[in-house]
């Protein structure tokens, strides 16, 4: 470990008791924060203090705390998942903040993601996009030997780049159009790159794009905000591939 320092912060947190309630910006002092703490551990400490003081702790989603489950996420000082590139909120450490900083914390905002409480939002729309076609239609049993179908390493690597998406929703939160194209494109792209996914590529692209539109996500206007905040550095190349797959589904 690097030697830890202790810093003091002022938090401004958007609080909202329920989906149909108004939100308020509340101010809290986060004192004696070790720079070795993760951002969520800092919130744990603030919550412990709030609880002991008889107040309602700040609700936030989190689970694995190692940057892979995709459960956590909030907008920190205007940027989804906070200031560090390629990092989920749980992996953001307090050594990236300075003593005396003011930190504004807000939930993901999008028509398709309703606020449940405070920083917790409903991302069920992502599940619905996957259900529209984000799979290869095979049943358990009967698959051929795994090595019977060689896949060029380069393709497998590119598919893996796309498959690394953790479904956190930061791309939607960052996009001025609240578009889910990076999320949707990553899945369409992964399966389109692999020979196993080709038989259904057309149907998949058409169905997933239609689901995305229906759920209230906006369109892509090449702002590239999604790519900039994606904690897994998913490239907008996958949006381009999605568009090609979508066009092919319509015309060829």
């Amino acid at each position: 470990m690097t030697t830890a320092k202790t810093i003091h912060l002022t938090l401004k947190v958007v609080r909202q008791t329920g989906p149909d309630q108004k939100s308020n910006l509340e101010t809290y002092a986060a004192r004696n924060v070790s720079t070795d703490m993760s951002f969520l551990e800092m919130l744990d400490v603030v919550n412990e203090d709030l609880t002991l003081a008889g107040q309602d702790p700040i609700a936030f989603d989190h689970d694995c705390r190692e940057g892979i489950c995709g459960m956590c996420g909030a907008v920190v000082n205007g940027r989804p998942h906070g200031p560090q590139e390629g990092t989920t909120l749980c992996q953001l450490h307090m050594r990236h903040f300075e003593d005396g900083d003011e930190v504004v914390i807000e939930p993901w905002r999008s028509r398709a993601f309703k606020v449940i409480k405070d920083l917790v939002v409903d991302r069920g729309a992502f599940d619905q996009i996957i259900q529209a076609g984000g799979y290869i239609s095979i049943n358990t049993g009967g698959a051929p030997d795994a090595n019977s179908l060689p896949v060029p390493k380069e393709m497998a690597d590119q598919a893996m780049d796309a498959a690394a998406c953790i479904g956190c929703g930061a791309c939607v939160a960052a996009c001025p159009n609240a578009s889910a194209m990076l999320f949707t494109g990553a899945k369409i792209s992964q399966l389109a790159l692999l020979p196993q996914g080709r038989p259904e590529a057309k149907r998949r692209a058409a169905a997933m794009v239609a689901a995305m539109d229906k759920l209230g996500f906006g369109n892509c206007t090449n702002e590239r905000e999604c790519e900039a905040v994606c904690p897994k550095n998913i490239s907008i190349v996958h949006i381009a591939r999605m568009n090609r797959e979508f066009l092919k589904a319509g015309f060829f």
Partner: protein, 637 residues
């Protein structure tokens, strides 16, 4: 109640095939008449839900998280084993079986482990067909790497994110069945009780985490795939929501709990660094393929690692175990790290860490190659610690990672409650006293894709029960009991949070029931836990109410169960007067400080039956019979 393991007769290699033939089938047209509840959407739960729905059953699937894609299987890094022998290095089903039995220190069932090795190959085929982007060689075929406890390369991987990719594969199949209407998904639901009617598992009680409603669901069978209980230690590599509640409530309804003291302490985790710490982060064991573990020769040597010359370093695993070296099984690697630190040779600010050094590998293979293999792990380490492992050795220390114990199940994965099946880490069945690396993913998917879809049919055709709905009085009673337990938690209105109690419990468990145990310590821990539990019910503080989204309340319920379950672990550890695998009782060790088993008295599964609140649990013994392997002192020298 006796323990009937229902292991089929016949030669080991033929048992599963014979059993598959003997299991009664459900007519395809009749499958749609059966409802099955699956709790949990990790590998074992998602795979079971998808496969059973594909067969035609109506499946209701529940998870705590906001989406089934987030279960903690997702965090598994290193890989999944299979006996494909693609590496042409002499692997076989028999060798995978043998390594797993031996790695588990001869405390698992031969028949279960052999079946696991048999279906391992099917898993890889299926996952590739699903579009899981496993690592490949330039020829386009699948790539393998080696893992601890094995001398062959049989581990398939997708960068350092194998669990994620396998889980997303299972989730995609689950999503397909949800779209087809064969699976109904219930996210943000916390299972708080099992409903048993006329001795059979018939449903569950859950709390809707969004609005606090207590909901009940009925079915013809219930599958628990709710993972392990490592969070009883507070600090572990488990996700924050991992808990024992579903299994523990099933235990209270009559399911036996097997070998609860068998917990795995993983050797390569990022060391603890503060009281506020909420969890520990694993660094995949695959790192031990190229990283060399060492400490300074001289206790108290506080020089920076780069300042310590070769002669001043003790590569203790390579020195002590020349044939397996850094790739000894996890329990052995962990205990040796602890031993070095106990001797004052630990490094870092706390002295509770050893080095994992990649300098030689980088010099040999180049930074590029090492980065391709472990890039994301190195990045994660750098993010958490602020240090660059390409430049300076990683510091690692063991941490609680996996629990081999779990609900007792027979060969069909059914618990002692008819109709209650348990899959994946939640059951006890395949890993004995120590799990080998890359075997958890294998077991979760084996149970979910290739075992339970068949065995549950055998149960359902047995019949002997009538259709019921949630109007049945047992559902009302169970829901009422859950509601009053929640009221009890809210009513204490004391001065300590659930997290605070959890932290105290974790310290007791780690100190007395962790890497090394002794009878005096265990007895002491039992008293401390009882005292803490009593304070919990006098001094717990849960803010707000139950009729809304309330994470503090969720946590309090889980800690309440851990406070009872911790005692069960202690009781089990005290009853097992030997050392084996992850259970190391200091009174039972060889001259070289290895675990010394007592095969004469302890070649059995310890299964505990709940005997009522405040009563000591009742011990049941399932003897383990070894017909195919010879029990020996494990040697990795």
């Amino acid at each position: 109640m006796g323990l009937e393991s229902r292991i089929p007769a016949g030669p080991l290699a033929e048992k599963w095939d014979r059993h598959l033939f003997e299991l009664k089938l459900v007519n395809p047209a009749n499958k749609r008449k059966f409802d099955i509840i699956v709790v949990g959407t990790g590998l074992a739960g998602a795979a079971a839900s998808a496969s059973m729905a594909e067969l035609g059953y109506n499946v209701k699937t529940f998870c705590i998280q906001d989406s089934p894609r987030r279960a903690h299987s997702i965090a598994a890094q290193g890989g999944i084993n299979a006996a494909k022998n693609y590496s042409n290095d002499g692997d076989s089903i028999w060798r995978l079986f043998y390594d797993t039995i031996k790695g588990g220190d001869y405390r698992a069932r031969e028949a279960n482990v052999y079946r696991l090795a048999q279906v391992s190959n099917l898993i890889i085929d299926h996952c590739v067909a699903q579009g899981v982007p496993f690592a490949r060689d330039y020829g386009g075929l699948l790539s393998n790497r080696s893992f601890g406890g094995a001398q062959v390369s049989r581990t398939f991987y997708a960068r350092g994110q194998t669990g994620q990719q396998l889980l997303l594969g299972a989730y995609s199949s689950l999503s397909r069945q949800a779209a087809a209407g064969k699976v109904r998904l219930y996210a943000r639901r916390d299972m708080l009780d099992l409903v048993v009617v006329d001795g059979q598992a018939r449903g569950i009680v859950v709390r809707n985490l969004v609005n606090g409603d207590i909901e009940t669901y009925a079915a013809d069978a219930v599958v628990l795939a709710t993972g392990g209980y490592g969070n009883v230690f507070y600090l572990s590599t488990n996700a924050m929501a991992c808990n024992v509640t579903a299994c523990f409530q099933a235990y209270k309804k009559g399911a036996f709990f097997a070998n609860p003291c068998f917990t795995q302490i993983h050797p390569t985790c990022i060391p603890v660094h503060g009281d506020y710490q909420s969890k520990l982060t694993l660094m995949s064991e695959s790192l031990r393929n190229d990283g060399r573990v060492w400490v300074p020769q001289t206790p108290g040597d506080k020089r920076a690692p780069g300042q310590i010359p070769e002669a001043g370093r003790d590569y203790f695993l390579e020195n002590k175990y020349p044939s397996f070296g850094n790739l000894v099984p996890r329990d052995v690697a962990s205990r040796n790290a602890k031993e070095q630190c106990d001797q004052g040779k630990g490094v870092g600010e706390t002295g509770l860490a050893v080095y994992l050094d990649f300098a030689d590998a980088i010099q040999r293979d180049g930074r590029e190659v090492i980065s391709q293999k472990y890039g994301n792990l190195f990045e994660m380490y750098a993010k958490i610690t602020g240090q660059d492992p390409y430049e300076t050795p990683m510091m690692i220390y063991p941490a609680v990672h996996y629990t081999m114990g779990g609900l007792w199940v027979d060969y069909n994965l059914m618990s002692t409650i008819p109709g209650l099946f348990v899959t994946g880490e939640a059951n006890f069945s395949d890993h004995g006293a120590n799990r080998l690396g890359a075997s958890a993913l294998m077991q979760g998917l084996a149970d979910g894709y290739f075992i339970i879809p068949y065995t549950i049919g055998g149960y359902l055709t047995g019949g002997g029960y009538k259709k019921i709905t949630t109007d049945h009085p047992e559902f009302k009673a169970a829901a009422g009991a859950v509601a009053s337990r929640i009221q009890r938690l809210l009513a204490v209105k004391g001065k300590r949070t659930a997290d605070d109690f959890h932290r105290s419990l974790g310290k007791i468990m780690w100190e007395y029931c962790g890497m090394a145990r002794n009878n005096a310590g265990l007895l002491n821990a039992r008293e401390k836990i009882a005292a803490l539990r009593s304070e919990f019910w006098d001094n717990l503080l849960v803010p707000s109410t139950g009729a809304q989204f309330n994470q503090s309340l969720e946590k309090a319920g889980r800690v309440a169960d851990f406070l009872e379950f911790g005692e069960l672990m202690i009781i089990d550890a005290l009853a097992r007067q030997e050392s084996c695998g992850g259970h190391f009782n200091e009174a039972f060790q060889t001259e070289e400080n290895e675990a010394r088993r007592d095969d004469e008295n302890f070649t059995h599964v310890a299964a505990w039956e709940f005997a009522g609140e405040g009563q000591a649990p009742v011990f049941h013994k399932e003897p383990l019979v070894f017909e195919n392997v010879k029990l020996s002192q494990r040697s990795y020298k």
